[in-house]
Amino acid sequence: MIVSVRNLTHRYGSRVALDDLSFDVAPGTIFGLLGPNGSGKSTLFRILTTMMAPTSGRVTIAGFDAVRRPDEVRRRIGVVFQSPSLDRKLTVRENLTALGRLYGLWGAHLQSRISETLERLGLADRAGELVETLSGGLRRRVEIARALLAGPSILLFDEPSSGLDPAARLELVSVIAGLRDHHGVTVLLATHVLEEAERCDRLLLLHHGRRVAEGTPAELKSRVGGDVVVLEVADPEALRGRILERFGLQAQAVDGALRVEIPNGHRFIAELVEAFPGAIRSIGLHKPTLEDVFLDETGVSID
């Protein structure tokens, strides 16, 4: 296991941010930490990147303890932060040169390595441009190039697509998948974006610093029973009672709408509309998503 977390707990004063968390990340996979803001993702990310020591528990990365040997861990991780970490006044190549030297790389070896990395991320023609003139999507790719430069054992991403437009998001997801498929890179990413989570090999769902569920996206979604029917209604509480009475089904009230999980949802929709004429404003059916998994386990939505 390239990352191993055991009984990790972190408190800010009396507030518990991480509560006895354990998980492993296998090499060559994309591992996602999925949870809403405030779920403990950022705290966990800071601990994994050696920026902070946990209250208790153990984190091992590439065989080194993150608290006792942060220097060895730093040598082996590439970090892409949510906020930009490039010098805007330097060119792409200058940024990478500066960072490469902090890893003890230099001279012709460093320069050929930079060219190689830029090539890999489709940035070869941008090397001489000032970072401040690049678009958000390109900048994020330069950040990835920076993180990859020293040949890390694992890449850690914090909210990789934050601040990117939908096109750049999509592209970023395929860049990450490409790194795993063609270069065997291990990736750990913290996210609250479902499209990103869908592309992970394995997910850890996090809520209030606790593990809610863990598994592949398909495994997690198969926990939800059948289809999901969502009803927009004028009075959710009243209709919830009537659905229970009539169909013996527990509907869940979420953000002013009702959610029902049921196999063969299309038949149920017909029966519902028939049973409560006029009470339903709109009705929808979808296959379970990770959002449904999260709702089932926690009662709150990810966004």
Binding site: R46, M51, D71, R74, S85, L86, D87, L90, L102, Y103
Partner: protein, 249 residues
Amino acid sequence: MSKDFGLAVTTLWWRELVRFWRERARVAGFVGSPLLFWLIIGSGFGDLAFFFPGAITLTVMVSATFSTMSLIEDRREGFLLAVLVSPAPRSAMVLGKVLGASTLAWIQGLVLLAFLPLAGLRPPAASLLAAALIIYLISFSFTALGFLIAWHMESSQGFHAVMNLVLFPLWMVSGALFSPASAHGWMQVLMQLNPLAYSLAALRHFLAPAADPHRPPLASSLIVTAGGALALVLLATLAARRHPKGSFA
């Protein structure tokens, strides 16, 4: 000093110089205002030579400390984040930043030095060299001081407040504006306790020795100036071994 340490220090130093070069317009502002200030005060009191070392000191102090202000934002969102997760030791980060920023402040001090003839001063070449060295030590000390304060600060507003409370009083009772000889008893004591007064005296010794004969001896001036620089950079290194504020939220 290992190769990696040296490489990290020189790289961070180089980054500051490149950035500075790309923002030349800002430099004019840093040098322009103290120059104006000096010409007005100096001409008003009819003694350009007396106020000259003080004007250089002020330029260097302000430039040195405020160039470390970027640390506050830089570590939350910027290049410093990447430095902090790199294997480069914290001490290399401190030294690189302090050397870089102090070099820039020093260059601005040297630009001001070119106006020496305007003050009617013609020191010999050896004195000029010595003055340049002292100007560098002042830059270095105040960059290290700025680093020390910025590292503990959450916002640049707080930084401004602290710097105004530290910087300007320090400068005003350094002998830049009046000689200890003309000061009241308690002010003389304050001036004796102010480390900057010694740096200013050393600068005056080499640039305008006739302007104020009532100075502390050169040897103690040099010792305090060099000792202060060393002490401050050590304190900054110690501070940086702990995680910066603002990365904890």
